[in-house]
């Protein structure tokens, strides 16, 4: 009889565990997987109810989709490289160059990450826009009616805004990674005759690789899917996949095409994320935990 009671108790425990596994899965399925499946279904059936590749071929073969895809990848890659360069430089200064107000800077980075992306775009229009601070000053100084600085409304304006917004996402993991780097390694390298550039290249950079990889991947994911900055800046002729989805769905009511493009965008994001995980497991080592 005691065996039967124990078996019953085990069965009850398993049921309890099963409930706590199923609950989050059910929530996830309701708020994420179901809507996603609707989008994929719409992309594959084009509202006809039957799976057909005609709609897919039409959208994927269109010049505007190819252009948007290339724009998306180009802007995301360049912005990510910019974030990596700026983030690495700032993290080096923050971690290895003592300066007053260091703690305040750390807090500001955290606050910056929490801000909505369009705020930077708005700030940029005040600074670099046609009627912004720089153009007004230059126009007054040069006596011209044409704003001399007009990069903001090109893909470079978008890239600059994205670099500004997303650099802290590289900066944060890098600072965490540098805090784990044994300062004695740098001192010993220096005592052995290595100058600062060699120390950065051969000691600090290898230690920062997992954090760079993590931060860079995150930036790539975020910039591939960036919408607010592009919409706010309104760069002429700069169409990316998220903007194209918006255009097709909201302005043209072409939901089938919008769903095809959105599915490609999701696929692109998943591929980037998989690449990130694979790279991290291969290069992460003991520092992978901090990123």
């Amino acid at each position: 009889m005691p065996n039967a009671a124990a078996a019953e108790r085990r069965q009850r425990d398993h049921a309890g565990v099963g409930f706590w596994v199923l609950l989050p899965f059910a929530v996830l399925a309701t708020i994420f997987l179901y809507p996603l499946s609707l989008i994929v279904h719409e992309a594959l059936t084009a509202g006809t109810g039957a799976v057909s590749s005609d709609g897919l071929r039409k959208v994927l073969g269109s010049a505007i989709f190819v252009s948007a895809l290339l724009n998306t990848v180009r802007i995301a890659v360049v912005a990510t490289l910019g974030c990596l360069t700026l983030g690495f430089t700032l993290a080096l200064i923050y971690s290895f160059v003592p300066f007053p107000g260091r703690a305040l800077v750390a807090k500001m980075i955290d606050v910056f990450i929490a801000l909505p992306t369009f705020l930077v775009a708005l700030a940029f229009t005040f600074i670099y826009g046609s009627a912004g601070l720089i153009n007004q000053s230059l126009m007054a100084a040069m006596g011209t009616q044409v704003p001399p600085v007009n990069f903001l409304y090109s893909s470079w304006g978008v890239i600059l805004a994205e670099v500004t917004v997303y650099s802290p996402f590289v900066l944060r993991p890098l600072i965490a990674s540098f805090s784990l780097l044994d300062p004695a390694q740098i001192e010993v390298a220096s005592s052995l005759g290595a100058r600062p550039v060699r120390i950065v290249r051969q000691i600090i950079f290898p230690a920062a690789l997992p954090a760079l990889l993590a931060g860079g991947s995150l930036c790539l994911l975020l910039t591939v899917n960036e919408f607010g900055i592009l919409l706010f800046i309104g760069a002429k002729g700069v169409i990316t996949l998220p903007l194209l989805v918006y255009d097709k769905a909201i302005q043209q009511f072409d939901y089938a095409s919008a769903c095809v493009i959105a599915s490609v965008n999701v696929l692109l994001s998943l591929m980037l994320y998989s690449l990130y995980r694979v790279a991290l497991s291969g290069l992460g080592g003991e520092r992978a935990a901090v990123v």
Binding site: V188, S191, L192
Partner: protein, 384 residues
């Protein structure tokens, strides 16, 4: 390759930079009134010391005594607010660390984790632009020197603590440093490996007689075993400096006596010079004692008598000149030795004896004896 061969080549191989142990002559390290302060806290105070070429000198002291700061000022990682540091004939006070030509080994090894053992050893040579042939040769020599040749292709994470420290030493020696700085290099190792590494360091010093070594430690056993001379530091100042044996047997001040070997420091009053021995008669409570080392302390002074715990014997000395009676306060069995604390005239005197067949009881009266030549008069806290 034999060690002797390695050493012959060490003395004659082509240097990779100008900073090579100058043609086998070694380099002097000189601190001249060096003061280092962090904000308003002085951590090294008017510190002067000269370590001769080829000497193995230990900086010994408790935590916060300034010994690591002194070493770091030689390495160039702290900038003195006043005074100067020289290596050889060169004032290096403001020279950046990479230009000083020093080898450095630290407590936690600081091996570069993404480089193999061979790459770690080659790092300094590559940084100095040494030729590939020379780098290969030095890697072989230096790894052979620390008996790590078979681990050249391994990564630091694949090595034990002791092996990592050997690699760190090989890496420091590969550049043929002007001086070798060792900052508590054995602190992270367990007791058995530490003993082995002390022997290894002793062997390296014998095999590299021209290399000047500055060794920072808080472990007096390491300092006594390895160092030709020991500098005792306290509160950022030099408390004593001298040959290890001399400092141990004739400490110049109370701090040195207590820190180096935990000597008994007994308050005494000097009575009169002792003609036959040339020593001094002193009084400790009711006991009349004799020491042969008066250290120029005159008669009629209140001072201290230093006696090592193991110099106090439970068996009477033949002359029975120096005997102290006290009550047993504490007993500690330490395996092959027995530590006994006696209360005498309000002072505690520690005795270390070989294991006793019959242990005294707490409170029991016990008489201990010591030879006049095992006792030294010391000033209260004068500097060396």
């Amino acid at each position: 390759m034999s060690i002797a061969t390695v050493m012959d080549r060490t003395a004659t191989a082509a240097p990779s930079t100008a900073h090579v142990a100058s043609e086998g002559q070694g380099n002097r390290i000189a601190f001249d009134r060096v003061t280092v302060a962090y904000r308003n806290t002085v951590v090294l105070d008017n510190f002067s010391l000269i370590i001769e070429p080829g000497e193995f000198a230990a900086l010994l002291g408790p935590s916060g005594s300034g010994k690591t700061t002194a070493l770091r000022s030689v390495a160039g990682f702290v900038r003195p607010v006043s005074g100067s540091v020289s290596i050889g004939d060169e004032d290096v006070t403001t020279m950046p660390p990479y230009a000083r030509g020093i080898g450095m080994v630290v407590q936690n090894y600081a091996l570069f984790p993404h480089m193999t053992v061979a790459e770690n050893v080659a790092f300094g040579l590559r940084a100095r632009g040494a030729a590939r042939v020379l780098i290969e040769e030095r890697i072989r020599e230096c790894l052979a020197m620390v008996d790590m040749s078979q681990y050249a292709k391994r990564y630091p994470r694949q090595l034990s603590g002791g092996q990592q420290q050997r690699v760190a030493i090989a890496r420091a020696l590969a550049i043929r440093p002007r001086v070798l700085l060792l900052d508590e290099p054995l602190s992270a190792l367990d007791a058995q490996i530490r003993r082995n590494m002390v022997e290894e360091l002793g062997r390296l010093h014998r095999e590299l007689p021209n290399l000047t070594v500055l060794y920072v430690t808080h472990d007096q056993a390491e300092a006594l075993t390895l160092a030709d001379r020991i500098a005792i530091m306290r509160d950022g100042r030099l408390s004593a400096f001298g040959e290890a044996r001399s400092l141990y047997h004739q400490p110049p001040n109370r701090f040195t006596a207590e820190f180096l070997g935990h000597a008994n420091v007994i308050p005494v009053r000097t009575e009169a010079l002792d003609g036959p021995s040339g020593g001094m008669r002193v009084r400790f409570g009711a006991a009349n004692l004799l020491t042969t080392a008066a250290n120029n302390i005159p008669a009629g002074a209140n001072t201290h008598l230093c006696v090592r715990p193991h110099s106090l014997k439970l068996e009477p000395a033949p002359d029975r000149l120096n005997m102290i009676e006290g009550a047993v306060e504490e007993l500690h069995w330490q395996g092959h030795t027995q530590s006994i604390a006696l209360s005498v005239n309000g002072s505690t005197i520690r005795v270390v004896s070989t294991e006793l067949r019959q242990l005294p009881k707490i409170g029991e009266k016990l008489t201990v004896y010591f030879a006049a030549e095992d006792a030294v008069l010391i000033a209260e806290d004068g500097n060396a």
